[in-house]
């Protein structure tokens, strides 16, 4: 009698352990998959958005205004502009007051759109290839890509720094032929802050943005 109960409880215990082990390994597998899925997601995101960008750049007969509109829409859909702005301000972000931060992000966006829309315009090409991905951490990835250009022109190498937030991938920086957009802007902004404080930078951005006449 006693042994029977014991055997039964032993069996339930075994069963419980088994279910525990199965569910645990299932959870681990799910977690593992989630961790592995992130670089793949970043890669797919870049493949899709890169192809879109090339399609816009290759559109024949696009006027400056139409192009600027397309570029703005692309940035809104694909870039995390506030994160880029914060990175470009570097250590001075922490020193900035809330209103200064707010104004800076607004000025940054106008400046970024107007400056880089023209620089990117020369990047038309025949094909957009994704070459690989390097995980930076759990949410950030660096996706290597290449724009293959016609004839003898050398391909352009672009690395996309992509971050996942709330299930959505967003570009936080671009590294074009080894030149980091975020670093270039940070160096420039830092020099202006050093020379006259944050207000000097905000003023320079305001003034520069006034010289752009391509809308936005």
């Amino acid at each position: 009698m006693g042994t029977k109960t014991h055997a039964k409880s032993h069996a339930t215990g075994l069963w419980r352990n088994l279910t525990l082990a199965v569910s645990l390994s299932a959870t681990l597998a799910l977690l593992g998959n989630a961790a592995l899925a992130a670089p793949k997601d970043a890669e797919n995101f870049v493949r899709e958005r890169g192809a879109e960008a090339i399609a816009v750049l290759n559109k024949p007969g696009l006027t400056d205004q139409e192009y600027a509109k397309e570029f703005l829409a692309f940035v809104d859909r694909s870039f995390d502009v506030p994160a880029m702005a914060q990175f470009a301000l570097g250590v001075y972000w922490r020193q900035a007051t809330a209103p200064q931060r707010e104004e800076f992000v607004k000025l940054y966006k106008v400046y970024f759109i107007n400056t880089y829309s023209q620089r990117f315009r020369t990047f038309s090409g025949e094909r957009f290839d994704v070459l690989g991905v390097r995980p930076v951490n759990g949410t950030e990835n660096l996706v290597q890509s290449r724009i293959v250009r016609p004839a003898a022109a050398q391909p352009i190498t672009i690395e996309w720094h992509v971050r996942e937030q709330g299930g959505q991938q967003r570009v936080v920086d671009l590294i074009i032929e080894g030149l980091r957009l975020g670093i270039t802007l940070r160096d420039e902004f830092s020099a202006l802050v050093q020379r006259g404080g944050l207000d000097n930078l905000l003023k320079a951005l305001r003034d520069k943005n006034l010289t752009f006449n391509r809308g936005v």
Binding site: Q118, R119, Q144, A152, G178, E188, Q194, L205
Partner: protein, 247 residues
Amino acid sequence: MMLRLFLIAAGATVLAGCASVPADPIARAAYEEANDPLEPLNRAIFAFNMEVDRAVLEPVARGYRRVTTPGIREGVHNFLRNLRAPVTFANDLLQGEIQRAAQTSWDFVMNSTVGILGFFDVTDDADWEPHEEDLGQTLAVWGVKEGPYLVLPFHGPANVRDAAGLFGDRYFDPFVYRLQPPDDARFFSGRTVAGAVDARERTLEEFNELRRTSLDFYVTARSLYQQSRNNQIRNGAPAPLGDFNLE
């Protein structure tokens, strides 16, 4: 004469003072990252170079574009690039890059012969992209530190390591040993001028766009130079992951 006056002025600027080292820790970190203790002098030379560009180089580059066809310019560019191949080859070897040295020599032999002195790029179907090496990159590969950022008159951005490399690379150039004075001086100055006009013509739009949109063109040029040199030293390989920290 012009150069001597310039050097005197430059010397005076050096004596007048380097950028003062800031005491505030944040400002100090930014100062060190810029790696530009000679900034006041460098800015003066940069302004001078921009003046030379405005008065001479850019107009000449525009004129060159007007009187030539894209095909001719491509040929001239190929020719100038091919002339640099021996220096690249020597530096490939000094960096222990045997495979790249082989690529360089294959390109050089083919383009100099079949490509008629290098005017035609007959190896662009090869499995490799053409590359350039110089002694500044070799010194970096050997672990020599870059030293402070410099702007050289008539030349542009550099650092102490690259300036030394620029000087040393002449001795890897076979033309130094083949030509007698004054032909060697004519050859080198001719090639330098042609190279400057070629480079300026090829970047007319980009350069002017960069200058137009920059908040401080001096700083933009410095940042891009430092980044592009590091990229060249890595032979275009991606930057180490440790560099990517969003904070």
